[in-house]
Symmetry: C2
Subunit: 199 residues, 2 copies
């Protein structure tokens, strides 16, 4: 009964995490009652992520489509002897915010690491990480900054075993993080402590 | 720190009703990790509402941009002697769903009727409603189906006064107990209405 364009967008919004059809409908009706200018801005922003985004060819962070290497990776002021492995882009935001880390990053997967099995492991850019370490002889330390969850711990163990043959110092964020917490939602002090007490 | 296209879309999503910046970020990261095909479908749906939607020139329902009059208004099988005034498009969905009404509709505003003051009243397509009734001599009844809220009641009163000079039967939706409600927990006003409209 609803016009097709409205129903289409309701269906799409309803796919977003924790959004049901009723909230999706509220979103759509909110949007269509906006002035043209506002709606255009929204549309432009949506177009932006499919047109103007790609992954850094080194660390796999999302970046704008200018060049192949992200701001962090090409920043010569950063300490390229340390690579911090994180699950997802937002984890980098959390670490950058505390301003206590000046090394590089490596993003495992944009899907996070939930339900990681044989197949998902393949998608975690670990092969690329090993290549990257082998190519860059200056790398002295790898910080595995996965979540303090069962999956995060398992993955950290998996990665540290994988990297062992490379004979580089491998550290993990200090515990002090309460078990079950995700990096993205950590308060700054806990995160600072965790960073400082890594071993 | 986040790439601009991501931050832009987070800002846009955060404007949606009851969405905060954190949920907005979750939406964006959900979207960018989707396969290209899925993301394209989402983008297309968003484009759809700004390109393929307009308001019916008679009842102001949203409709696709083919022609000027919506499916309901041009349906010759519908009873054009009755017009049901609703606040918003989704109210029509609710009424159509029960399959007990075969007349026409008139949508007051896409913004709903919250905070309606002098200025908002101007946007409620009431002038157009009066024109519409004057032009269509077959209209015998106007059903004012505004919400059973203080605003809805006030608006209904306003509209019924406005339409009085036209000398047409004006009705409102019956008030009483909602199905499934227990007498014990009913508020006084509902109970009063139920008692008064007994039959």
């Amino acid at each position: 009964m609803l016009p097709r364009p409205i129903q289409n967008l309701i269906d799409q919004f309803a796919k977003l995490p924790s959004v049901g059809p009723r909230q999706a409908a509220r979103f759509v009706f909110y949007l269509i009652k906006q002035p043209k200018k506002e709606l255009d801005e929204f549309t432009k922003a949506v177009l932006g992520i499919s047109k103007n985004l790609k992954n850094c060819s080194l660390c796999f962070r999302f970046m704008e489509t200018t060049g192949n290497i992200c701001d962090v990776c090409k920043d010569t002021k950063r300490d390229n002897s340390t690579i911090c492995i994180v699950e997802k882009d937002t984890d980098i935001e959390a670490i950058e915010k505390i301003g206590r880390y000046n090394g590089l990053y490596h993003v495992l997967g944009n899907n996070g690491i939930k339900d990681f099995g044989e197949k998902n492991i393949q998608e975690l850019h670990l092969k690329e990480l090993i290549e990257r370490i082998k190519k860059n002889q200056e790398v002295k330390e790898i910080i595995i900054a996965t979540s303090a969850t069962t999956e995060g711990d398992t993955l950290a163990l998996y990665i540290s075993r994988l990297l062992k043959p490379l004979d580089i110092k491998i550290t993990r964020l200090g515990r002090g993080l309460s078990t079950g917490s995700e990096l993205e939602y950590m308060d700054e002090e806990t995160l600072t402590n965790a960073l400082l007490s890594r071993k």
